[in-house]
């Protein structure tokens, strides 16, 4: 086995039990806690006990706990996450159809965070302890302290309601609902495929506010990591060497320092992805964005157990996979890393 394969195998050997533990904890918590999904589904009071018993039987809730658990696990392995009691469709299907929306939002959020976070981090490091550094640091900490849902709502009030520049919510204007064709589920790509300029503009307009909302909190995080990593690198001897050879400051910073500072920055991208999903829950709720995170909240409100269990397992696997991929990316960026 080559080094990389062995490393992947090792990481998987750790990731699989972690996901297993997570899924089991969720299963147990949902059953221990009060709140009956059958009653929630049937609408509470005035339901005959026979009907409740029948529904329980249909959903397999009358079986002993350990049988439910094994059935649940074997379903998980086959990719069967059960059926949503709210929509009546298989949970896996619901999630797959919603994944592109969440990913599209996450990519824009990340992009915004990188475009504003990394350069400000570099400037802060280069001008360490000068007023501009202090200002940027405070901005970064401030972006941490932003309540995401509030930022989204403020954007809606200012840019959608008061100024009318951008739409309030959703992914596409209603008037395009019929001419739009869903191919990949990434609306920006779909609009490009369709080749309709009007729809493209509309899709982009809908992406701006949620994307910036989600990206803002990540920006500070990325900026801080960039600043710290740059400070570390700027202190090294090879940077001094580069300067003493008479290289321009811009070249030293961008070519010599930044490249090495990028390694910890990339590491953080993996960590950040979990944060991003957390932020997506609130962003999707505020902007009625039809993604996975919004689906989770809907499932919670309706006590839709299967959907809830399935979504959490799905997000768990997803985050673990992203972390694994980021880890593997190291070797591409940093040739010193060998597995």
């Amino acid at each position: 086995m080559s080094g990389v394969t062995r490393y992947i195998a090792q990481r998987l050997a750790l990731t699989v039990p972690m996901v297993f533990i997570l899924v089991s904890v969720v299963f147990l918590v949902l059953r221990i806690m009060p709140g009956d999904p059958v009653l929630a589904m049937l609408g509470g009071r005035n339901v005959s006990p026979e009907l409740i018993a029948q529904k329980r039987h249909e959903m397999g809730l009358d079986k002993p706990l350990h049988i439910q658990y094994t059935e649940y696990l074997s379903g998980l392995i086959r990719g069967d996450l059960g059926r949503s009691t709210r929509t009546g469709k298989p949970v896996a299907e619901e999630l797959v159809s919603r994944l592109p929306a969440t990913l599209e939002l996450a990519i824009w959020g990340m992009l915004f965070a990188a475009i504003f976070g990394i350069p400000t981090g570099i400037i802060a490091a280069v001008r360490a302890d000068k007023p501009s550094d202090h200002l940027i640091r405070v901005l970064h900490i401030g972006s941490f302290a932003l309540p995401i849902f509030w930022v989204g709502l403020m954007f809606q009030v200012i840019f959608a309601v008061k100024l009318g520049w951008l739409p309030v919510a959703s992914r596409l204007s209603g008037r395009f609902a019929f001419s739009f064709q869903r191919v990949t589920g990434f609306y920006l790509l779909d609009a490009l495929i369709l080749g309709d300029k009007e729809i493209l503009v509309d899709v982009v307009k809908h992406l701006v506010l949620p994307g910036v909302t989600l990206g803002l909190a990540q920006m500070g995080f990325l900026g801080r990591v960039t600043r710290a990593a740059m400070l570390e690198v700027l202190d090294t001897e090879y940077v001094t060497t580069a300067r003493s050879k008479g290289l321009g400051e811009r070249l030293v910073i961008l070519r010599h320092a930044l490249r090495n500072a990028l390694i910890p920055i990339i590491t953080v991208f993996g960590l950040q992805f979990a944060m991003l999903m957390g932020g997506a829950v609130l962003t999707e709720t505020v902007f009625s964005w039809p993604g996975i995170a919004g689906f989770l909240i809907q499932s919670l409100y309706y006590r839709d157990w299967w959907a809830l269990q399935g979504t959490i397992a799905f997000i768990g696997v997803f985050v673990a996979t992203v972390n694994l991929v980021v880890d593997l990316l190291y070797s591409v960026i940093d040739p010193r890393v060998r597995y």
Binding site: I21, A128, P147, V161
Partner: protein, 300 residues
């Protein structure tokens, strides 16, 4: 006398270390003002709020027939009124109580449970340590906001479920810090020396290892409180906070969301700013503490 002098010197040096710590000072100022505000304007039992007459100007939980409905900020109602003819300014003043209590309680709980588990797990080692670490990593890697929301949703809304769910999310943070520190510290010669003199395992843990982990824990907790305040606000926003009509910033923002399309900006702007500044305060304190604790960064 010698004792008093030492204490004085320590205080003096600590005070000197404070000099130039603008971030820490500003952060502390913000945090202390919010705490004072919560104490002065918070609930007094029943539906009554505030320790002094006239502060907050109106009862934040009560509708006033004399107040206009959904009025923008005026000289009388500085932050406007809401749909139930309540004074928004009074609600903002009194609403800091819940986030502060939830944040402090949950982080304290997470710190106690997580650190204790980390100390013990790191000290014992072997398979219990490995199993516990894996479980903690599983929880840690999962998006904390989603976990907190899911937990509070199954536990029900209110103060205690919010504290429990936020605490649960942060247990792994303290577990990991403490465990790593224990693994580092236990190799030191002074621990070995203690063992050689015949000190018991518990004694080594409590007297020699535990004190060494305190620094690392303190630096993180302030950032976590800042984060917990945002989480509390998000939970309240989603409807899992204090039962109405109690003032709670997050929930007030949810109420304001209904009137967003009408452009009634004051309903969401002011509670949101309060959340932002409170969280920012703790963030600045955390930044200041890590500057203090970390001499390498202090130089920068």
């Amino acid at each position: 006398m010698g004792r008093g002098l030492t204490a004085w010197l320590v205080r003096k040096s600590l005070f000197r270390r404070f000099r130039g710590q603008t971030l820490l000072k500003v952060g502390l100022l913000i945090v202390l003002s919010f705490i004072a505000m919560a104490v002065i304007c918070g609930p007094r039992g029943g539906e009554e709020y505030g320790r002094f007459a006239g502060i907050p100007p109106y009862n934040p939980a009560k509708s006033y027939a004399s107040l206009p409905r959904l009025s923008p900020p005026t000289a009388k109602n500085w932050m406007g009124t809401d749909h139930l003819q309540r004074d928004v300014f009074s609600r903002v003043l009194a609403g800091g109580w819940a986030p502060l209590v939830v944040a402090f309680a949950s982080i304290a709980l997470a710190m106690s449970v997580g650190s204790l588990a980390g100390w013990i797990s790191g000290y014992i080692g072997g398979w219990p340590d490995r199993a516990l670490s894996l479980t903690m990593d599983a929880i840690y890697s999962f998006p904390s906001m989603i976990l907190a929301i899911a937990l509070v949703a199954v536990m029900g809304s209110g103060l205690v479920p919010m504290i429990a769910s936020i605490a649960f999310v942060y247990v792994p943070t303290y577990f990991r810090i403490t465990r790593a520190e224990v693994l580092r510290v236990r190799e030191y010669t002074f621990v070995e020396a203690a063992r050689a003199t015949g000190a018991s395992g518990t004694r080594i843990l409590l007297r020699h290892i535990a004190p060494n982990t305190v620094n690392a824990i303190m630096a993180v907790s302030s950032f976590n409180i800042a984060d917990a305040i945002l989480t509390e606000a998000a939970l309240a926003f989603l409807g899992y906070g204090l039962p109405p009509p109690a003032p709670d910033w997050g929930f007030d923002i949810q109420n304001g969301q209904r009137y967003l399309q009408s452009g009634y900006w004051w309903l969401i702007t002011f509670p949101g700013l309060a959340i932002l500044f409170l969280s920012l305060g703790f963030g600045l304190v955390g930044e200041g503490i890590s500057d203090l604790v970390n001499p390498k960064r202090r130089k920068r």
